[in-house]
Symmetry: C2
Subunit: 242 residues, 2 copies
């Protein structure tokens, strides 16, 4: 709305905006996946390890985590398995892919191990009934905000909500052409998560707002489930015009 | 999870599922746009009239509606202008594109005129502060559910939330490659709205759930605003794998 001259002056005075697609090198970071024995966690672990990342899956049972880490999908790409606490302690980035029903309890137990870590919450609080899926109300606003409340010493972000566990775990599929919406309060933390998502062929990690806007990103999975039913698909999201 | 034989038997017993992309002919229906003098409404009116649909824009002031309908964008594509009540009365499909602040009052006033009509709510209840946009809590759950509560004699759907008013109103742009998520309770009503969206080159109208899942679709605009700021874009949504 301001005059063109004013815009030109403002642009001259400000430093050039950073290229939003310029992302950090994350190749040296160890990625832990809590709930890595579930479809979403196992699929993410497979894709990240396939892309060359060092990945540890965690489970309440270390034995079960080691079994899944050695299975026909994860074994060949070199994923490790461990109990949740060890998984968190040994990782730089910790993806939280546990069921919503175990979300608060798991994070409460791991507060100490997750201190200082970059936590990536990908949990979708959904309920199911005869009419399909629907969003659940979360006291803190969203799963991600619940994580931030329970883990005050961690760097909490949210991402990887809209990926199909089926596609992630399908070895016949090389590319997953979809975008990962990344939310968080600190730009540098979001960029690490964006870089991680962008390692998977076809995917882009896109910054999509602060944690207070995580609820709708998590809940949108209910809509994707409706799309999947109607169109017999494994729908994801691509952001247009970027 | 069932054996392949069982699946084959079930498929043989059930009638073939309807092709979800087979949509009705809506060319004879008159489309009204309440709030058609705003960016979103004016842009939608332009695109639908350009595609050959008969369109009437409504405003609280009939004079203002007629002025905008005759402007350099809408005049050449033959859009009409009228007061909100006349717009609703003369239309078969009524798109609600008013600001959230006027949503409840506008619909309460027009309950009689909207009885029996197919109402398409595209309102996003958002608040804005120094940190950007955020979702507002709506007592009924969402703008669309508020519309359904206020208009018990209408057929309420929700759609057209994620379109950029800037792109819609740009005459240099011929195609808008994005998807329109359509929500509602009645399949036939949703399909009319899907068909309407699909008239615009590049767009697909996609069924994406019931009205109880409208809140996250409306609120996702807060995230698109964050994307737009970071990437200097007019972001929209494309659903993948369909």
């Amino acid at each position: 709305m301001s005059a063109p001259e004013e815009n030109a002056n403002a642009a001259a005075a400000k430093p050039a905006a950073k290229d939003p697609w310029e992302l950090p090198d994350v190749s040296g970071l160890v990625v832990g996946v809590l709930g890595g024995t579930g479809d979403q966690g196992r699929g993410l672990a497979y894709r990240l390890a396939l892309a060359g990342q060092r990945v540890i899956i965690g489970s309440r049972s270390a034995e079960r985590a080691r079994d899944i880490a050695g299975d026909e999908l994860l074994g060949p790409v070199g994923v490790e398995g461990a109990g949740n606490a060890e998984c968190a302690r040994r990782s730089d980035i910790v993806i939280v892919a546990v069921p919503w029903s175990g979300h608060a309890a798991t994070l409460t137990d791991l507060r100490e191990e997750l201190a200082g870590k970059l936590v990536v919450d990908c949990v979708n609080p959904l309920g199911f009934d005869k009419k399909g899926a629907h969003a659940l109300a979360v006291e803190e606003g969203s799963a991600a905000e619940q994580a931030a409340a329970l883990l005050p010493e961690s760097r909490v972000t949210a991402a990887f909500h809209h990926l199909s566990g089926v596609l992630l775990q399908d070895r016949e599929i090389d590319e997953i052409p979809t975008d990962v919406m990344v939310l968080g309060e600190v730009r540098a933390d979001c960029e690490i998560v964006q870089a991680l998502a962008s390692l998977i062929p076809g995917m882009r990690g896109v910054f999509a707002g602060r944690l207070r806007n995580a609820h709708q990103v998590e809940s949108l999975v209910a809509n994707l489930i409706s799309v999947n039913r109607r169109y017999k698909a494994h729908a994801g999201i691509r952001l247009t015009d970027i």
